[in-house]
C-alpha cells in the first residue's frame, strides 16, 4: 500500500466544496447580487465533478478511498445538486432564502455525502453522515416563516439524532468485537465471529441508522413531514441525494465489511425491503398533496433499491447504482414541475391543482406525464431500465419470488402516478395556476426529460459504467 496519510489529492473535491461553501457563507453579507451564489454554485458543481473524476486514490492510511464506486455516487450527488440548484433561484427568491447560506449548506451536505460514499472507515462514514444530516436539517427548516417546514425539520432532527445514536452504538459494538473501524479489517475479523450476539446487534444498529436515512419502513415516519415541509428544491435534493448517500454507505458497509454475515442480515433486510415497497406505495395511493405523494413514492423506491443491496451480489449493487442514477432524473424532474406550479402558502401543492393542466400548459403537463410513467416503470423510459436491471439482478441472485413481490408493489404504485396524469389530461381545469418559470428551471426540466428518454432508449454505455463501478 502506498503511503497515503496525506494524499490530499484524493480528497480534493471535498476540500474544494468546503472551501467554496465557507466562502459563500462568509461573504453572504458582502455580496448584494445574490445570483452570484447561484452561479458560483453551478460552476462549482461542475468543477467538483471534474476534480472527483481526476483524483481517484487512497487517503488517510486507507480510511478514505476515492474509487469508481465512490465516484459514481459522487456523480449522482453532484448531478442532483446541479439539477436542484437549477430549480432553486425562482423559488428561493420568492420565499426569501435566496442567500449564500442556502447554497453553502447544500455544498456542505454534498461534501458529507461524498465522505459517506468514499469512506472506508466507519468513523469517516459517521462524520460524513453527520455533516450531511446537520446541513439537511437546517435546509428543511430554512424557510422559518413556514410552520410546516419547522415541524418537518424538527421531526427530522429529533429522529435523525436518534438514528445517529444507533449508528454510534453499532460502531462501538463492531469495534469492540473486531478491534477495528476499517471496513476491510472488519471483514477479515468478522468471518470468525459472525454468530456472536454483539456483532449481530452491531449490524442491526447499522441497519436501523442507515435505514432511517434512506427512509426504510418502519423508520420512514419523518419522510413525509420533512419532504412536505421542506422548500421544494430541498425536497428534490434530499429525496435523491441524501437517499443515495444512505445507500452508498449501506452498500459499502454491508457488502464489504458485513459480507461474511450476509446470510444473517439478508433475513432481516428482505422483509423490511418488501414492507417498504408495499407501505410506501399503498400510502401514496391516498395522498392528495403532491409533495407527500412523492415522499411516499420515494419511500417505495427505497424499497426496490434495498432489494438490490439485500441480495448481496455485485450485480445487485450495480443495479442500485443504476437505479439511483435514473431516479435522480425522474424524481428531480417531477419536483421541478411541482416547483413550477407552487405558490405562496401551499397553493399548487394539492394534486387537484393539476386538474386540466394539459389544456392550460401542455408542455409542463407532458413533462410531468413523462416523469410519472418513468416512475411507474413503463418502457421506453429510464424508469423501466432501472427496474428491469434491478429485478434482473434479484432473479439472478436466486430470488424470483422477491422480484414477483417487487413488481406487484410497482403495480400498486401505478395508481397514484396515473392519477396525476389523469387529473392533468382527463379533467377540466378548475382554478388556474400560472406556472412561474425561469430559464434555469426550464433547463432542469429539459435535462431531466432528456435523461429519462435517453437512458430509456439507449442505456448501453450507462450499464457498462455501473457494472464497472462496483467494488
Amino acid at each position: 500500500m502506498p503511503f497515503s496519510l496525506f494524499n490530499l489529492k484524493a480528497l480534493s473535491p471535498e476540500i474544494f466544496l468546503v472551501v467554496v461553501a465557507s466562502l459563500m457563507v462568509l461573504f453572504d453579507r458582502a455580496i448584494r447580487a445574490k445570483d452570484f451564489f447561484f452561479w458560483t454554485g453551478l460552476f462549482g458543481t461542475v468543477l467538483a465533478w471534474w476534480l472527483a473524476r481526476e483524483s481517484l486514490g487512497l487517503a488517510f492510511g486507507g480510511s478514505y478511498l476515492a474509487d469508481h464506486y465512490g465516484f459514481f455516487f459522487k456523480t449522482i450527488f453532484l448531478l442532483s445538486l446541479f439539477l436542484s440548484l437549477l430549480i432553486s433561484p425562482a423559488y428561493a427568491r420568492r420565499e426569501g432564502f435566496h442567500f449564500g447560506e442556502y447554497y453553502g449548506l447544500l455544498y456542505f451536505a454534498v461534501c458529507g455525502m461524498m465522505l459517506m460514499a468514499s469512506g472506508t472507515d466507519l468513523l469517516v462514514i459517521y462524520l460524513g453522515l453527520e455533516l450531511m444530516s446537520l446541513s439537511v436539517y437546517v435546509l428543511v427548516a430554512l424557510d422559518w416563516r413556514d410552520s410546516r417546514g419547522l415541524e418537518g425539520g424538527l421531526k427530522y432532527f429529533l429522529l435523525g439524532s436518534l438514528a445517529s445514536a444507533f449508528l454510534v452504538m453499532g460502531l462501538a459494538f463492531i469495534y469492540g468485537q473486531t478491534g477495528s473501524l476499517n471496513l476491510l479489517e472488519i471483514k477479515r475479523q468478522l468471518t470468525v465471529s459472525a454468530s456472536e450476539m454483539a456483532v449481530l446487534s452491531g449490524i442491526v444498529f447499522f441497519m436501523v441508522a442507515l435505514g432511517f436515512k434512506v427512509a426504510m419502513v418502519p423508520f420512514h415516519m419523518w419522510a413525509p413531514d420533512a419532504y412536505e415541509g421542506a422548500p421544494t428544491p430541498v425536497t428534490a435534493f434530499m429525496s435523491v441525494a441524501a437517499k443515495a448517500a444512505g445507500f452508498a454507505a449501506l452498500g459499502r458497509i454491508f457488502l464489504l465489511a458485513f459480507a461474511p454475515a450476509h446470510i444473517f442480515w439478508m433475513k432481516l433486510l428482505v422483509p423490511l425491503a418488501v414492507l417498504t415497497m408495499f407501505v410506501g406505495n399503498i400510502l401514496a395511493v391516498v395522498q392528495t398533496n403532491i409533495k407527500r405523494l412523492l415522499a411516499y413514492s420515494s419511500v417505495a423506491h427505497a424499497g426496490y433499491v434495498l432489494l438490490g443491496i439485500a441480495v448481496g451480489t455485485r450485480e445487485g449493487l450495480s443495479a442500485v447504482l443504476l437505479y439511483l442514477f435514473v431516479y435522480a432524473f425522474m424524481n428531480i424532474g417531477a419536483f421541478a414541475v411541482v416547483t413550477l406550479l407552487q405558490r405562496e402558502s401551499g397553493a399548487g401543492e394539492s394534486i387537484f391543482d393539476y386538474q386540466g393542466l394539459a389544456k392550460l400548459y401542455p408542455v409542463p403537463a407532458f413533462l410531468m406525464l413523462l416523469f410519472m410513467f418513468s416512475l411507474t416503470g413503463i418502457p421506453p423510459t429510464a424508469g423501466f431500465i432501472g427496474k428491469f436491471y434491478l429485478f434482473r439482478s434479484v432473479v439472478h441472485a436466486g430470488h424470483p419470488w422477491l422480484a414477483v413481490l417487487a413488481v406487484l408493489a410497482s403495480v400498486i404504485a401505478a395508481y397514484p402516478y396515473l392519477r396525476i396524469v389523469m387529473l392533468m389530461y382527463m379533467r377540466e381545469p378548475e382554478r388556474q395556476i400560472r406556472p412561474v418559470a425561469s430559464p434555469s428551471l426550464w433547463l432542469a426540466l429539459g435535462l431531466s426529460a432528456v435523461g429519462v428518454i435517453l437512458i430509456g432508449v439507449y442505456p448501453g454505455s450507462l450499464l457498462h459504467t455501473v457494472m464497472g463501478s462496483v467494488f
Binding site: K359, F373, Y389, R392, H396, L418, L463
Partner: protein, 512 residues
Amino acid sequence: MDLRMAEFPLLSLIIWLPVAGAVLLFLIPRRAEGLIKGLALVVALADLAVSLPLWFSFDRSFAGFQFVEKHPWIKALGVQYFLGVDGISVLFILLSALITILCILISWESITRKVKEFYIALLLTSAAMIGVFCALDLFLFYVFWEAMLIPMYLIIGIWGGPRRLYATIKFFLYTLIGSVLMLIGIIVIYFQAGTFEVPELVQMGLPQGLQLILFLAFFAAFAVKVPMWPVHTWLPDAHTEAPTAGSVILAGILIKMGAYGFLRFSLSFFPQATLALAVPMLVLSIVAIIYGALACLAQSDLKRLIAYSSVSHMGFVTLGIFSLTANGVEGAILQMINHGVVTGALFMCVGIVYDRTHSREISYYGGLASVMPIYAAFFLVFTMASIGLPGTNGFVGEFLILLGTFQAKKWAAALAATGVILGACYMLWLYQRVFCQKVNPQIARLPEMNLRETVALLPMLILVLWIGVYPKPFLSFMHVSVKALLQHVHSAGSAIPLSQLIKEGLHAVFPV
C-alpha cells in the same frame, strides 16, 4: 429454426413510419386541424402501402421467420433489435395497418378536443402494436407490449365516454399486473437459456417443472389481454367508454396480442406445460364463450353488448389454439382476423350513430332500417358475420375451430357450439331492437351515412365477404408455420399428468 434475413429493413419502416408521422404532427401548430388530420391519414395510408410487400412477397412455403432484421441494441443485457415475421404474425401487421387508417377516418369528425394529441396517440399505438407482432427478442417484445399502454391509456381516458376515468385506470392496472408477471418470467427464461432470442428459445427445452410456472406467468399477461374469463372484466368497461377509434383498436388489434402471445410464446416455449394444461384452457375458453354470450343477452348498452360478444368470440379463439390441432389453430388465427374485422366494423357502426345521437342505449333506437337503409344493410352483413352465417368470414373461422376442437375433444366442441346458437340469439335480437320495429321519433331524422363513413366501412365489408367466400389466400399464409408449431408442441412427448407437473413446478420454485 430458419431465418431469412431482409435485404431492406421493411419491418422497421412499417414500425417507425407512424412514429415519424407522430413527431411531424407534434411540430404542426394545433390550430391547423385539417392539416393534422390529413397528415395522419397520409401517414397511415403510406404505412399500409409499405406493408403490402408482406402480402405479395411473403414466402408461403417457408416455415421460419422472414424479413428478419437483427442488430445489437443493449449489449450489456444481451438485448437485440430483432424483428421478423412468419405465417402466424404476418396477417396481423397488415390488419393493424388497415385498421389504423379506418380509425383515422372514423374519428375525423367525432374527435373535436385535443385533435393533435389524439392523432399522435393513435399513430404511436399503431406503431407499438405492429412492433409487438414483429418483435423476435423477448425484451423488445416487452418494450412494445408495455409502451402501447401509454397512448392507449390516454386515448380511453381523454376522449372516452362518461365513465372513462374508471375504465381507463382499470384497463391499465389489469394489463400491467399481468405484464409484470410476464416480465419476471422473461427474466427467468433469460437466466435459464442465456438469450432473449425467440427462435433460439424455441429450440431450447426448459425443465418441465419450470415450464409450468413460466406458462402461468405468461398466461397472466396473455389471459388479461385476450381477455379470458375470469379476468375479462376490464374489457366491457374499456370498450364501452373508449372513443370509437379506441374501441376499434382494442377489439381489432389489442386483444389479439394476447392470443398471439399464446401462439408465439406459450405454445413454443412451454410445449409440455401446454399439453398438460390444454384441458383447463379449453374449459376456461368454453366458460368464456357461454358466459360472454349470456351476458350479451342482458345488456342494454350497444357497445357493452358488442364488448361482451368479444369475450365470447375470443373464447373461440383460445379454444382453437388449445385444441392443438392444425384446423383449430388455423381457425383461431383466421378468427382473430375475422373478429378484428367484424367487431371493429360493429364498433365503427355504433360510433356512426353515436356521433349523431350521443346515445348508446339500445332502447333509444328502433326502426333505424327505414331511416338509414344503407347503414342498416352494412350492419346486417356484420351481424351475420358475427353470428357466423355461411358465406361470411365468421363461418369459416368458427367452423375450422369447431372442427379442430372436435378432433381433439368432442365434448368441448359440443359445448362450444352452444355459443354459436346463443350468438345468433343476441345478435339477431339486437338487430331487431335497433333496426326493425316502429320508428322511434327521436331518431326519425337521422341523416344517412356520408361518403367518409361508407369508405371507412367498405374495406371491412369486402374482407367479410372475401374471407367468407374464398379464405384460401389468408389460410395459405399459415399452413406451414402452424404445422411446424404443432409439430414442435406434439414432439415434446405425451402429456405429463398435471399432478406430476405441479409437483415438479413446486420443486423448481422451492428447491428443498
